[in-house]
Amino acid sequence: MRSEMSVQSLAAPGFFSDLQAFWAVVRREWTIFVRYPSWIIALFIWPVIFPMGYILTARALSGVNGTGLATFKQTTGLNEYVGYIAVGTMVWMWQNIVLWSVGGSLRNEQMRGTLESNWLSPTWRFSYLLGSSVPQFISMLMLMAIATLEYIFLFNVKFEGSLWLSLLVVLVAIPSVYGLGFAFASLVITMKESNAFVFLVRGIVMVFCGITYPIAMLPDWMQSVSKWLPQTYIIHGMRTAALTNEGISGIAFDLQMLMVFGIIWLIIGYLLFNRMERRARKTGAIGQY
């Protein structure tokens, strides 16, 4: 029986074949992304209308003669509330899109019925998740570039900081944002219900990480929670880099924390993926949904 089972595979997996598989996943995801014209709406319209609700509320809170704005300036040290909100909501949108796309990538394959057959191919399985992250990150960079131009020309935001430091924050934030996405993907494929989990995670980011307000506004216990969330440091770092002239010293602590969180979340993401993969092979339930 044993000898019958141990048939020799004709596949010869190696580094290059894994790279090919990874590239195939990247190409597939990109083709699916550009196939539906609604991505244009996502790129051009959402960055404007999502922060607009908060910006207009802040405008109302400022008052006719700027009474409220003076208080805001005392609290945050910034006069530019539009840029302040735009940067915060942008980071939230990034994490939200990663949760839906990368976090839901395996689940989507499960729903389409292609996950089980892909799982049987002699490839490095983690490349399914890594591959889906690449087109997502490219589209996110496009979204950030378009959004920045829209904020400058439509909302008249003055980004007085440095473009390169802002990009550095984005770069250092990648492991945290996508590590959470990987962990999320493994969790969702086991629990089968993605919507409720996305609502929960993005809700936590929305309430605790200060997308429209300084963390100092939160009660003490909420501030303690926000310190454990990498998105708090991404938002703070991005705001400091893009809106102020504080330079690298202003974002040094945020970068350190993001590196630590990045390592932690990548490890959690990878471990959860391996655990899910083993469990799926044992139970044989990977194709079920």
């Binding site: 609604s38 709406i41 319209i45 209308i49 999502f50 607009m52 609700g53 908060y54 207009l56 509320t57 802040a58 405008r59 109302a60 809170l61 400022s62 008052g63 006719v64 003669n65 700027g66 009474t67 409220g68 704005l69 208080t71 805001f72 609290t75 945050t76 909100i85 219900e193 919507n195 409720a196 609502f199 809700g203 929305m206 309430v207 200060g210 997308i211 429209t212 307000y213 300084p214 506004m217 939160l218």
Partner: protein, 299 residues
């Protein structure tokens, strides 16, 4: 020439289809159909209790950043700047009330179109459409459960929102219902037209997401519309919902209104009549087109 021929074919088909039905629809049978539709939706909704919990807390999560942002603009919890536009320093009661009313608007505005899309996806649309029930009644039936569920979740939102953020309404609750009635009936008109568009397009998500977000912004769910920049103000002023939200708030939390209260009620009644007429006409014409195309069962 070609269009005349097509019309002749269509008329001939219609003639062939005019067979006598064995059903005997009465008012009572219509009410039974309405009850069955509502009961089906009710059972389906409570089958996923996590959704119910989510519909109470999701809107609260969305307004939480506004609450903390409002604190950054306030002194001792009073938003003086906000009161210059709205007439109240209690910005959170203003926003919470707007969010609750917006959830009712969404239930009627988009709920019927979404329900039809769900029927299409689950493959029951065509068979439901063949039953001898007025089609508008099917739409109304879909909205009944939606409204009851929204009422329950709105109470949950006010309760939890009040506990978390504080909610102070000291006005006349009965008088606040005067603008709600024409506003909601008028919204049914829009809902009928939107449902017909969904039947024709067979896609609802992107359309609904973007439009509901824009309507929410411009009708002033989260801020007084007179705080809008001059060039955006006309957009808010042509939306009848703006006056509905404004009138309800003035009665419950004593905000200053854009127009006198009576003037806003007259506008809402005109909106109700016009929207019902447009909605029913649009639905009848588009529904006929979908039947001619034969795409009712496709999705």
């Amino acid at each position: 020439m070609h269009s005349t021929f097509a019309r002749l074919i269509a008329n001939y088909r219609e003639y062939l289809m005019q067979v006598e039905s064995l059903s005997q629809p009465t008012f009572a049978s219509h009410m039974r159909a309405l009850y069955s539709l509502s009961r089906k939706d009710w059972k389906q909704y409570w089958r996923y209790p996590l959704n119910a919990v989510s519909s109470v807390f999701q809107p609260l999560i969305w307004i939480a950043p506004i609450y903390f942002m409002g604190l950054a603009f306030s002194v001792n919890g009073k938003a003086i700047g906000f009161s210059q536009y709205s007439g109240t320093t209690d910005f959170m009661s203003f926003i919470l009330l707007g969010t609750v009313l917006e959830s009712f608007i969404n239930a009627v505005f988009w709920g019927m179109g979404y329900a039809l899309k769900n029927d299409m996806d689950s493959g029951v649309m065509e068979s439901n459409w063949l039953t001898p029930i007025p089609r508008l009644l099917i739409l109304v039936g879909h909205s009944v459960t939606n409204l009851v569920v929204t009422l329950i979740t709105a109470m949950g939102m006010l309760l939890f929102g009040g506990l978390i953020f504080g909610f102070n309404a000291s006005g006349d609750v009965l008088k606040a219902f005067i603008p709600i009635i024409p506003m909601m009936i008028g919204l049914y008109g829009f809902g009928f037209a939107f449902a017909a568009v969904v039947m024709l397009m067979r896609e609802a998500n992107t359309l609904v997401d973007v439009s509901s977000f824009l309507v929410q912004i411009f009708s002033g769910a989260n801020f007084p519309v007179n705080a809008l920049p001059r060039f955006l103000l006309p957009v808010a002023l042509i939306l009848p919902l703006t006056y509905g939200l404004d009138a309800v708030r003035s009665q419950l939390i004593g905000t200053t209104t854009i127009l006198p209260f009576a003037g806003e009620i007259v506008l809402l009644v005109v909106f109700m009549v016009v929207m019902l007429w447009i909605g029913i006409s649009a639905f009848r014409s588009l529904e006929r087109r979908v039947r001619l195309l034969g795409t009712l069962g496709q999705h």
